[in-house]
């Protein structure tokens, strides 16, 4: 299956003067809404950068985590910028640009269950929350075989579950943990295990070589001039590593 190489999305984008970028507003701080209920987050800012660099208008297409690949394959969006971690399964069906950020997958817990976990076996039969269909899910499924994985549809629901106390352990990013802790002052989560450090990149359909080259150029330039790092730092509280892993 998959797609063929006839389409030239870059030409399409330029012709219509508009790029449709899929973002996930349910995954703070990469994608979320501000106090005025406007889309915000590092991915949204980065998306603006990309649209600007291409000299086209930006149209945000909202997707949820599990819908990111389908959104591409079915043409709902031209590209996906939604803390889209690069992994082998995804690469079978879609293409990634170079990385423009990194995201860790960690297990974090409060003072309850999993408080003393240092290795995956310590989490056997412990309830661990994650986001259905995300790389976190895949990673946790693979590395925490004994844990009781509880999968929510998006990060927002995961955060709500952690804040409300439905689960006390999560397998997700440190950024999610920060978001949780802002609302969970009494029993903040701390990182127990780092499962993986993943680069994330812009997702696009296979065979879009022109578009990919163009996007890679945009990323390279904005890494060099520090704009991407500034955005990343502003939202996640830490600067980007000097060199990003290859995708």
């Amino acid at each position: 299956g998959g797609s063929n190489a006839v389409a030239d999305t870059l030409a399409d984008i330029q012709q219509r003067g508009k790029i449709r970028i899929a973002v996930d507003l349910g995954s703070p701080p990469f994608g979320m809404t501000d106090a005025q209920m406007q889309p915000t987050g590092s991915d949204i800012e980065s998306a603006r950068l990309v649209a600007e660099a291409l000299g086209v208008e930006l149209e945000l297409v909202q997707v949820t985590g599990p819908n990111r690949v389908p959104a591409l394959l079915t043409g709902q969006a031209d590209i996906v910028m939604a803390s889209f971690s690069v992994n082998a399964e995804r690469k079978k069906v879609i293409d990634f640009t170079d990385a423009y950020g990194v995201i860790q997958i960690v297990v974090a817990a409060g003072s309850g269950a999993g408080a003393n976990a240092t290795k995956p076996e310590d989490l056997n039969s412990v309830q661990v929350g994650t986001t259905r269909g995300s790389t976190n899910d895949l990673e946790a499924t693979a590395k925490l075989p004994g844990a009781q994985l509880t999968r929510y549809d998006d990060d927002a629901t995961l955060v709500t579950a952690l804040v409300s106390g439905q689960v006390d352990v999560m397998a997700s990013s440190p950024q999610i943990m920060t978001a949780v802790n802002q609302r969970r002052a009494a029993d903040p989560l701390t990182v127990k295990i780092v499962l993986k450090t993943n680069p994330y990149a812009i997702g696009l359909r296979k065979g879009e070589d022109a578009l990919k080259a163009k996007l890679n150029a945009v990323i390279a330039e904005n890494l060099k001039n520090g704009k991407l790092s500034e955005i990343y730092n502003r939202y996640t509280g830490v600067p980007l590593p000097a060199t990003l892993p290859k995708t």
Binding site: P70, R132, A161
Partner: protein
């Protein structure tokens, strides 16, 4: 169209589909039985209770019938946790579905109760039956028999609506579908398969309900009246 269909990618996942379907059926079965009991009690309360009971039941029914199940599911799942009680997603889903279908059952059963003529109750009173006996032997059984088709439809709808509980991590059929499609990236194919499974489940459920009716409503069977 730049899309090629590929159902074969789903083949390895058949046990997941199966377990999803099983959990969907479990959720529906529990909610059906519990919702039936809740709804019937509420219907009796609304027909025969004190003004306070009547008002409470009316409020319950109206609130549930006029707000979306999705929102009810969220309120129950997170609301219960906010109160400091931790329940599993499956249990929360069962509670939410029960609360939801209980309100609908109440309305349906109430219509059934109203269709029982007063003279039937009088006759039973004159035979010296106590109130609970009258309710059980003379009112509820024939009332349920009368509204059985509506109840059947309602419970099949409930089974379909249980897909919403995937949102709070209940691993039923739709949740399984979401997971599988994000592993295989065959969203369209996955949902087609799941859609078909739901169709089959609803036929199975209708079949089960009519089998139950066949066994329970002896008069219908004997006189050959259809439900």
């Amino acid at each position: 169209m730049t899309y090629t269909f590929d159902f074969s990618a789903l083949l390895p996942y058949w046990p997941d589909f199966l377990w999803g379907a099983v959990l969907t059926l479990q959720l529906s079965a529990v909610a059906t039985v519990a919702g039936f009991i809740v709804g019937t009690l509420c219907a009796i309360g609304r027909a025969d209770g004190s003004p306070v009971v009547k008002a409470i039941v009316a409020a319950y029914v109206e609130v549930i019938r006029n707000t979306p199940l999705l929102v009810q599911v969220f309120i129950i799942y997170f609301g219960i946790a906010t109160l400091g009680i931790r329940v599993s997603a499956n249990l929360a889903a069962m509670i939410a579905l029960t609360v939801n279908v209980g309100a609908y059952t109440c309305e349906i059963v109430r219509a059934g109760l109203q269709s029982i003529h007063r003279s039937q109750v009088e006759a039973a009173e004159c035979l010296g039956l106590s109130k609970p006996q009258i309710y059980w032997h003379v009112i509820i059984r024939p009332a349920i028999e009368r509204v059985y088709p509506s109840l059947t439809s309602q419970y099949v709808l409930l089974m379909l609506a249980s897909s919403i509980t995937s949102q709070i991590s209940a691993e039923e059929l739709t949740a399984v579908a979401n997971r599988i499609q994000s592993g295989t990236f065959r969203a369209f194919e996955t949902y087609i398969v799941v859609g078909i499974i739901y169709l089959v489940l609803s036929f199975v459920m209708r079949g089960a309900f009519s089998a139950f009716a066949h066994a329970a409503f002896t008069r219908r069977r004997k006189l050959g009246t259809t439900l």
